[in-house]
Amino acid sequence: MTNPGPPEALLTVEGLVKHFPITKGVLRRQVGAVQAVDGLTFDVRTGETLGVVGESGCGKSTMGRLITRLLEPTAGRIEFEGRDITHLGVSGMRPMRRDVQMIFQDPYSSLNPRHTVGTIVGAPFRLQGIAPEGGVKKEVQGLLELVGLSPEHYNRYPHEFSGGQRQRIGIARALALKPKLVVADEPVSALDVSIQAQVVNLLDDLQDELGLTYVIIAHDLSVIRHVSDRIAVMYLGKLVELTDRTSLYTAPAHPYTKALLSAVPVPDPRRRTQRKRILLNGDVPSPISPPSGCRFRTRCWKSAEVCSEQEPPLLELRTGHQVACHFPE
């Protein structure tokens, strides 16, 4: 999965912000904002898998919808292949949609129940006005085979399929136009363990075969470890750590990452007694009024005065290992 040659950024994100306004009264006066994503800077390199992990409410899904431009950013800049796409309108984005596709979490609500599989997977061709060689039907059947379904499924409806098969249909649709970047938001979390493994392997194979670049958003740290080359950890709208897989799991530098990793149950009963678990107190604070300075300080055991006064910037601790903490490990 690693990219030979110098890593080249396919997608660059700088200072990305998304605030959802909270309004009140008949005049819809703005009284506050949910600071879902608050200043993200990172890039996605050609051919890699960037894993984005964090707990619910950390802004990872909002981030996914911003970089695919399903949401309008409040501030910041998004560049795809060197081109600024931050504020492109619907028609301006249309050609870009060929290159950037999304796979959704819920295989039940992301497929139109009244459309056949053929219509669903063939939709991108119609919307983009593309006539593939040999016709749409042949192309769609090829795609169905690619994701491990039978070409005969062309005329069936989504309800005739199991969860895992539906997720494959969603993947076939995302791959129809041979995109360069695929953003997958919790692609396996709705699936049973044995089916989850099938879909993870499928995503792996497709990346090798088609040279795809993935941004995979998930809350499951084991899945993220398995699929990602580099991993970004988010907390309350901020990036707290960004590094390659090996250093993240063997030498996490941010206290939140450490706590997160230690909290994951390990499927090995013999380790039960040996493990040291860092228990965080309480819950994630509200993104409407996040803590001053470092947003993690209210739950952090290292918190000092400076943490409430100054926000720690995301700095390079070692080569390729970025951390936003005043007291990294």
Binding site: G164, Q165, V193, P265, P267, D283
Partner: protein
């Protein structure tokens, strides 16, 4: 089943729970047996539709008898529950056995305060006045780690966060000091840091009260954390059971191998592909003939005489492994060989 010395508190024998539907008879649970001792934890693992939740609801006596056909034996502290007087079961439910559900938002009534619901649960089983019951509710909310319990007791469920709600539900389940606690996917809806808090809480409470615990989950990590014994369910039957350590280090059923192979590991670098189970779980109306797992089993053709497709394998002891049982037609030596040579090195 394990080295725990507590006496058997719950004993289930050949429990069958079938439902009549318009499409046919759904055999959700089809002959399952297990014991849970005081002070020990049984983990029931399986995928959706394997019958784990139906089993637990069956133990609690929560199936409507008009809809469900239930047979077999469930002994709670020596008392038979199947066919017992519903009023008697209702007395036991809550006081001797209690349940924690997956989704606390739908398991709690949105219209009543958390305190009122705990008070009600307590007063059903104890003849005390409201003030005493309220004191008890505050005490329990404090015990499960809810800050400012004397104030939060008057909050409504929607004013609690997910983790807090789960704690409140645990408080409600524990209010009558039940000796059997059934937790059905208690942490599935929670974030990992909160999950860790809840798992710790369940473990501490068990130590404190010495109760028997059944934890139902699809997450092998969670059972590895908590369970002393594990029971693996597939299509309404138990395919393997035994001490947790045996199930994880020397499993003897191809489905258990499949579950272990499907799971990405957080504790080691694994660059190879996962080894998933092919296909998907069967419909419980048309469970495959013979071994229910045979259409998905990579070794289905190995046993002589094609028994897998005609005869259902019985749960038999694994030779030389105390308390470890599995239901597979493959010879034990063959399974030992496959595990040590083919499966274990790839995990």
């Amino acid at each position: 089943m394990s080295e725990q010395t507590g006496e058997v508190f719950l004993s289930v024998r050949d429990l069958k729970i079938h439902f009549d539907t318009d499409d046919g008879l759904v055999k959700s649970v089809d002959g399952i047996s297990f014991d849970v001792r005081r002070g020990s934890t049984l983990g029931i693992v399986g995928e959706s539709g394997s019958g784990k939740s139906v089993t637990s609801l069956g133990v609690m006596g929560l199936h409507r008898t008009a809809r469900a056909r239930i047979s077999g034996e469930v002994h709670l502290d020596g008392e038979e529950l199947i066919g017992a007087d519903p009023d008697r079961v209702r007395r036991l439910r809550g006081s001797k056995m209690a349940m924690i559900f997956q989704d606390p938002l739908s398991a709690m009534h949105p219209y009543f305060t958390v305190g009122a619901q705990i008070v009600e649960a307590y007063r059903v089983h104890h003849a005390v006045d409201r003030r005493t019951a309220r004191k008890r509710a505050v005490e329990l909310l404090d015990r499960v780690g809810i800050p400012q319990p004397d104030r939060r007791v008057d909050d409504y469920p929607h004013q609690f966060s997910g983790g807090m709600r789960q704690r409140a539900m645990i408080a409600m389940a524990l209010v009558n000091n039940p000796e059997l606690l059934i937790a059905d996917e208690p942490t599935t809806a929670l974030d990992v840091t909160v999950q860790a808090q809840i798992l710790d809480l369940i473990r501490d409470l068990q130590k404190e009260f010495g109760s028997a615990v059944i934890i139902i989950t699809h997450d092998l990590g969670v059972v590895a954390e908590l369970a002393d014994d594990i029971l693996v369910m597939y299509a309404g039957r138990c395919v393997e059971r035994g001490p947790a350590e045996a199930l994880f280090t020397r499993p003897r059923h191809p489905y258990t191998w499949g579950l272990l192979g499907s799971m990405p590991r957080i504790d080691r670098e694994q660059t190879d592909r996962l080894i998933p189970v092919k296909g998907s779980p069967p419909s419980l109306i048309n469970v495959p003939e013979g071994c229910a797992f045979n259409p998905r089993c990579p070794y289905a053709d190995v046993p002589e005489g094609g028994l897998t497709r005609t005869e259902r394998p019985e749960l038999t002891p694994v030779p030389g492994d105390d308390g470890h049982h599995s239901a597979c037609h493959l010879a034990h030596e063959e399974r030992t060989r496959i595990w040590t040579e083919e499966i274990a090195p790839k995990l």
